[in-house]
Point group: C2
Chain length 189, copies 2
């Protein structure tokens, strides 16, 4: 059983994703953990502090996932394919709640929240990792970064429309199109 | 000067876009219009009724924009280009608040709000209009719909990353890439 602080951050991570950051109250988080409100505020004085901890947790989890893909997949094209396949693996969640990174970033922008650049660092982790894979495919640094952002954008767009239309065929088709696109890049350094 | 009801819907449309639906209170809307809270609730008993009116307004405004593109642009490829160029024309707003359609749809999904399918109808307007343009380029109905969804997804992804990174070069590059993609489709029916 993780300690109370960790349980709070885990519960907040889930609630922020499923219901949104602004819509989640400290009382909701305390109830999800099963602790009194006073116990929650002993660990975190304000919701913004919980948000900072949630972003740190997501950064760490994202890095761990990228490291796992790095080890598991044979070569940069297969690793980029691991990224593309999140849309299939997390399909049910994405259709229900969107992409956790994109929707948090969009929400913080509307709230004019100071943590937006921190949330964007999760995107930057993906971007840098993808760019490195494209470099390994033979593209120069500037081009590799452009390709990384392009792919990140494609997957964000699929997530948003998947949430609006709940259309599994659309997701599958777009995943296939991204793999086709990748195969043209893997051949031409 | 539009009537009070219209002023309420216009103010709510702007606030929902800039701050989010959930984060906007009835008091915020009344203050933006400069009327008493009681006057607001005379016109709309609940925020959900204002949301329904905002969605209707966005549907009407979207249809009017599509009709204007239809008239102004010469041929389907030029009309699809008008769609792609929203990303440039609305660049400042998109970097600040995202796409109004995509962010409302994402937010309503998280709130598990019954109006999500209504908000998705704004996407459907774009989708059907784009699909018709692709049909005019010589693609069959099923393929034209796939192309329309693909382009809608691309532009959504650009909007989300533009909000996170505020990177004008990225927007310009992606707009150019979409135009290149379109030019390959305009040639092969």
């Amino acid at each position: 059983m993780p300690d109370t602080r960790t349980q709070i951050v885990e519960a907040a991570d889930t609630l922020f994703y499923q219901r949104g950051f602004d819509h989640t109250s400290l009382a909701d988080i305390a109830a999800a953990v099963g602790i009194a409100r006073g116990n929650l505020t002993y660990h975190f004085k304000a919701k913004d502090q919980i948000l900072a901890a949630v972003i740190d947790r997501r950064l760490a989890n994202t890095q761990a996932m990228l490291d796992a893909w790095e080890e598991a997949a044979d070569g940069p094209a297969a690793r980029i394919t691991s990224f593309i396949h999140i849309l299939i693996i997390n399909q049910a969640k994405i259709m229900a709640h969107g992409c956790p990174v994109g929707t948090l970033s969009n929400e913080l922008a509307k709230l004019d929240h100071a943590a937006l650049p921190d949330a964007a660092r999760i995107f930057t982790l993906f971007r840098s990792w993808l760019a490195r894979q494209f470099t390994l495919l033979g593209h120069n640094d500037a081009r590799a970064d452009e390709l990384a952002l392009h792919l990140l954008g494609r997957s964000q767009g699929v997530a948003t429309l998947a949430t609006a239309f709940k259309d599994e065929d659309f997701i599958r088709r777009e995943v296939a199109a991204m793999r086709d696109w990748l195969s043209t890049l893997a051949d031409q350094p």
